[in-house]
């Protein structure tokens, strides 16, 4: 495992001057992943979303590598097409360098709109890495709910008020859906643990065939927390078992981090404005339901990973 001292000498491939919000999780995640791609030529593709509109405002590009954007729903199809073209050109001797292919999509472009093109790309077995930057809503267009939005979150299309207390439905478990494609590598990670992100990005790049990484990338505007607290908030998501860190290598599930203590979900909800209404009197049952959902998902995950399905000691 490389140290930060060594990693800081790697050339920056996502430069400053992009127009992501101050304190955006995407900037951190992309820098970590391109940093882990050290030594490889990369081609990056983006689904429409915050990252794409903020990093490639014509005539500027924040990418120091090849970049392609096509549409919202087809980041998977676009990058798999680029990979297929590269293979064909290589076979004819027209390209000699080695390339790696990375697609970045937000949760809207991955969980909802781009799911079919992603699923197709994974099934066809292209040698590519798809990174989902999950900020749990359509932040680019003004915080609309997506299927990654957690139950109870206040968004502009699931507004918390007299009629409904935020989003009504449970969130989709995309990482498990991708694991069900039986691809060589699937992982879920979060930026508070940079070693974990680095290791998983490296593994995903090195593996032959398709790989998928789901990264929790907090959004200070949409989640409404204090901007500098990004690392704490991601850490709480992992400690409360809301966002477990795990990987699936060739069908084998492995848990990467097990919290030592039972941290209730309130700890993760409290610093965020989008969950403020849950703490009003009379809404205790909503938090209880959310806690139950988190606990059940945790137990199911432990079972998949071959560990004893029990909650951490309180």
């Amino acid at each position: 495992m490389a140290t930060l001292k060594e990693l800081s000498k790697v050339e920056e491939r996502f430069v400053g001057g992009h127009r992501l919000c101050a304190g955006c999780g995407h900037g951190i995640t992309v820098r970590m992943i391109l940093n882990a791609a050290e030594g490889y030529n990369v081609v990056v593709g983006c689904a429409t979303g915050c990252l794409e509109v903020a990093s490639t405002i014509y005539p500027y590009t924040a990418w120091k590598c090849s970049f392609i954007h096509n549409a919202f729903e087809n980041a998977g199809a676009t990058i798999s097409g680029v990979e297929a073209a590269y293979k064909a050109l290589k076979r004819r001797g027209k390209v000699n360098e080695e390339f790696k292919f990375i697609a970045f999509g937000g949760d809207g472009g991955t969980y909802d709109i781009g799911l079919q093109s992603l699923s197709g790309a994974m099934e066809r077995g292209h040698n590519m890495v798809y990174v989902c930057l999950d900020n749990e809503a359509y932040m680019n267009t003004g915080i609309q709910r997506s299927s990654a939005t957690p139950t109870g979150a206040d968004t502009t299309t699931s507004p918390a008020g007299k009629v409904i207390p935020g989003k009504q439905q449970p969130r989709k478990d995309l990482t498990a859906i991708m694991a069900a494609h039986n691809i060589p590598y699937v992982a879920q990670t979060a930026i508070h643990n940079w070693q974990d992100v680095h290791k998983k990005a490296r593994k995903a790049l090195e593996v032959e065939g398709p790989a998928f990484i789901n990264v929790l990338s907090p959004c200070p505007r949409g989640w409404r927390y204090n901007t500098p607290d990004i690392v704490e908030i991601t850490k709480l998501a992992v400690e409360t078992r809301f966002w477990p860190l795990f990987e699936v290598e060739n069908g084998k599930w492995k848990l990467n981090y097990k919290p030592k203590k039972y941290v209730p979900i309130e700890e993760f909800l409290k610093p965020q404005g989008r969950f403020r209404h849950l703490f009003k009197p009379g809404n205790e049952h909503l938090i209880k339901a959310l806690q139950e959902e988190v606990d059940n998902r945790w137990l199911a995950l432990l079972e998949r990973c071959g560990e004893t399905p029990e909650l951490p000691p309180r």
């Binding site: 930060l4 001057g17 970590m32 500027y60 990418w63 607290d229 990004i230 690392v231």
Partner: protein
């Protein structure tokens, strides 16, 4: 490599006519967003306190704008042209070696210095 025919050039400038632009709107200068300065978004500014710094580079790792410049594995400086003042670097610093100072105060201090001179 052929970057389009005739008058089409590689560098896109604001006063160009549409037919002078690059083919398919391609951009041929990687990382040219660097010439766009986002530093004026900032309302608070990170200031490095050298003698507290242990060069752990957490600030470099967690900067979303690549505005912490490291050299030879050590903290060198902040890139104030692109830093948006989010304050993550000051928060992740284990030794409190980064202070966030209001830009207004810096401006006022500058003004005061001018008056004295």
């Amino acid at each position: 490599m052929n970057f389009g025919s005739g008058t089409r050039t590689r560098v896109v400038k604001a006063d160009m006519k549409w037919y002078e632009l690059t083919k398919a709107g391609n951009i041929y200068e990687p990382g040219n967003a660097n010439s766009y300065e986002t530093g004026d978004w900032r309302s608070i500014r990170p200031v490095w306190i050298e003698d507290r710094c242990i060069h752990c580079l957490f600030c470099w790792r967690y900067c979303p704008d690549a505005s912490v410049i490291a050299k030879d594995g050590k903290f060198e400086k902040f890139d104030y042209k692109h830093c948006k003042g989010c304050g993550i670097c000051a928060k992740v610093c284990p030794r409190n070696a980064i202070d966030m100072i209001s830009e207004d105060e810096i401006e006022k201090a500058k003004e005061a210095n001018k008056d004295e001179n």
